[in-house]
């Protein structure tokens, strides 16, 4: 079965690998990221090259998970082109390491915004619920249970996400 998939945070790490693996498995994959024409232009080019080299359906789309307007625009574009959106691989997040004292409250808030609130199931959810195949969401989710002090900013946001999205984590 071919699914239309969105992978958030596909520029590096698990997201980059997941987007490529899903495309190789025959799915239509939208790798969503910010600044597709700016600092991530090279990523977009690289994804295009990968798609051409492997003959797979891997595309880039502009999407800032922290912006409702941006999310809606991207999801709308995907549904207009494909008539549906089946799978959301919500992988976006920031890794910041260091002891708690090394960060300002503003920096911690920014981290929390990206790693917790931005990972609500996007405005995509109602659309996924209306698609032919029943809904599915997936997410790579490290560190939801254990935290080491040196990992403080990233790791405290993971258990928080687990608590506020219990059906996800």
């Amino acid at each position: 079965m071919n699914y239309v998939v969105v992978v958030t945070g596909p520029s590096s790490g698990f997201g980059a690998l997941a987007a490529r693996a899903l495309a190789l498995a025959g799915h239509t994959v939208y790798a969503s990221m910010r600044e597709t024409k700016g600092r991530n232009a090279a990523q977009v080019k690289e994804l295009g090259r990968y798609a051409a080299d492997h003959g797979v359906d891997l595309r880039s789309i502009e999407l800032d998970v922290g912006s409702e307007k941006s999310c809606e625009a991207a999801i709308q574009e995907i549904v207009l082109k494909n008539g549906r959106l089946d799978v959301l691989v919500h992988n976006a997040g920031h890794m910041v390491f260091g002891p708690a004292e090394a960060f300002t409250p503003e920096q911690l808030t920014e981290q929390y915004d990206v790693n917790v609130w931005a990972l609500r199931p996007l405005p995509a959810s109602p659309i996924i619920l209306r698609t032919q195949d029943p809904p599915l969401t997936a997410r790579a989710s490290p560190s939801t249970r254990q935290a080491l002090t040196r990992d403080f900013p990233s790791k405290f946001s993971r258990p928080s996400l687990r608590l506020c999205r219990p059906t996800w984590m």
Partner: protein, 83 residues
């Protein structure tokens, strides 16, 4: 993290979940080469949550539903998988 771990294990697991037939997808999949204990704690947490849902009369949320809203047969119900 052990040095011989293949980072693509997470991507492979995501593909496996996506490609699994509806009703047979696992509720939760762990790829944790560090074995930090999340798998053990989540098993307990999922079981307790499933029991709570049952007690408050919402065990309907423990199985996926098709587009008509009817629950489907699942090969690994949450309670059984967690227990």
């Amino acid at each position: 993290v052990p040095p011989d771990v293949d980072v693509s294990a997470v991507a492979d697991a995501i593909v496996m979940v996506v490609d699994a037939p509806f009703g047979e997808r696992p509720f939760r999949t762990h790829i944790d080469p560090t074995q930090d204990g999340a798998e053990v704690v989540n098993a307990v947490s999922d079981r307790v949550r499933a029991e709570l849902m049952g007690r408050i009369g919402r065990s309907d949320v423990l199985v996926p539903k098709d587009l008509t809203g009817s629950p489907v047969e699942v090969s690994q119900p949450l309670q059984a998988a967690a227990g």
